[in-house]
Symmetry: C2
Subunit: 313 residues, 2 copies
């Protein structure tokens, strides 16, 4: 039995989890998911990272995009567009049911973590998926155009603004959701997913107590680099490393994770960086293929990461 | 030029309006619509009567039901049902766009009347459609099962509970929407639509100032009976007349409208009641076909009603 807790963003984390639940008991896995991307949209509460992780593990995700649902349609969104309503955030007809369900439950006073538990159980998932907090947490992106709400920056403006600063609105008073502390303490391995360090992992760590718990458990923590060959597999991680003055490479990411993780998983393509990382940080570096191109690759990455994290030298 | 203001509920009012805008200039018509049926549903603001009136005049309404949209689908609702979400209120995929649009605008601070004006303009309507108030007004139905929110009574429980009392939550502090008072004062004819007197007309009149203005303009007011041959054309009007101790007939309705209207429009089938109504009330009774079975019937009813109201004896 290997209990695994993961700090998870969206697509990259979801793919890693999809491999992970095939190499350990799904019920031993807890995904602690970012909610800094959450938004209110026309009265609905949308939790993009929770949905991406859930849809992926339920084998419902659109494989083309890595988010949203397979076989999705946009009847409502097209009509909303005709009406002059907000149409810049893709919400499919089936996806909409998720948001309506969640918002209905929230309006009845249920916490997001309980709603997520019921939702994932109904989809047949055995692993635990929890928001990092039931409290309001919103990533705010500082740009030349001023401070932008996360989805405004990410979707509406296509992550095209150089990012000068990030803050996590609500973080100071947010409390970890019920399962979070127990999952981190009980885990045999804590994985920092190959997610955006600034937009996915930092908001998780901003919830008081979470960073401290990860640091306290550092000997069990493995971080997977989301940067391969100086580029992000997906999303604006490389641009943000640059605009915030970091090295645009796995080395730049490794420096950010030094106090959090014992093991750093580096892609084969970056093998040349291994010695720099090991000399500059206190992390052990493991080099392996990290591109999750198919199920086998996902499983191999999950197995290799767990093995490295458990192999205390 | 005949300026017409109408106190309007849902289906019956919408059908009358559909005839009315064909016999007078649509831009001379103002429909003042009930919002006591409005509800919050999974975070969305739903205004069933505004939508029924708008969809009907825009020739988008489902002719089978008299509400909802033609060619509607229920992809989102079916999925929501699978998820265990609230599925008792029929919300089609296209209809959903209306609610999303409205809720989005409301969340930006726009008043319901302005949103309705933009929405109806976008659908090409020339007549004015306004909620009776921009403030919160909710019909609460007293039954053996306790007080029920309107749609709980009407849709979820299929209007099957005997109604003992009605109240209009928010009425005391509600203010008429911007166009309402002007429309009532400027009208050559005010029509009380063949809507449910208790569930559609009373909530309109409960907004402070509206009843007083209708009474002040009584000489211009024509009310169309929603009861034909002792039965409601649609909905629970007959049951409510009975449970509240009124005569289950057009006479029962006429007694309710005596202080409001100069003219009472009675269906041919109820011609025998005309003399009783004229002797018991101060209204002039006009007998004509009131079943709005097709466009010609709607137009004839609208013309006949206007003519009667303008023929001050």
């Amino acid at each position: 039995m290997t209990r695994v807790a993961m700090l998870a963003g969206g697509v990259g984390a979801a793919r890693f989890l999809d491999g992970l639940v095939r190499v350990v008991e799904p019920s031993d896995v807890t995904a602690i998911v970012n909610v800094g991307d959450d938004m209110e949209w026309s009265g609905l509460h949308i939790s993009p990272d929770l949905d991406t992780v859930t849809y992926t593990l339920a084998d419902l995700v659109n494989p083309e995009t890595g988010w949203g649902l397979r076989g999705e349609s946009r009847r409502t969104l097209d009509r909303l567009s005709e009406l002059g309503g907000p149409d810049w955030f893709m919400i499919g007809d089936l996806d909409l049911a998720t948001h309506l369900y969640r918002t209905h439950r929230l309006s009845q006073g249920d916490p997001l973590s309980a709603i997520t538990r019921d939702f994932t159980a109904r989809l047949g998932l055995e692993c635990m998926i929890t928001p990092v907090t039931d409290d309001r947490l919103r990533t705010v992106v500082g740009t030349d155009a001023g401070e932008l709400a996360f989805q405004d920056y990410f979707v509406r403006r296509r992550a095209s603004d150089p990012v000068h600063s990030l803050r996590f609105d609500g973080a100071e008073s947010a409390r970890p959701a019920p399962l979070v502390e127990e999952a981190l303490n009980a885990a045999d391995v804590i994985v920092i997913a190959p997610s955006n360090p600034f937009l996915s992992i930092d908001p998780l760590l901003s919830v008081p107590g979470v960073r401290e718990l990860v640091i306290a458990n550092r000997s069990k923590v493995a971080a997977v680099s989301p940067i391969i060959g100086g580029e992000a597999v997906k999303g604006p991680a490389a641009d943000i490393l640059q605009s915030l003055g970091h090295d645009v490479s796995a080395l730049g990411v490794a420096r950010l994770y030094d106090d959090l993780a014992e093991v750093f998983v580096l892609d084969d393509a970056d093998a040349a960086l291994a010695s720099s990382i090991e000399s500059e940080t206190d992390m052990r570096v493991i080099v392996m293929p990290t591109l999750m191109t198919d199920v086998e690759a996902k499983m191999a990455l999950a197995s290799g990461t767990l093995e490295a994290a458990r192999n205390v030298p």
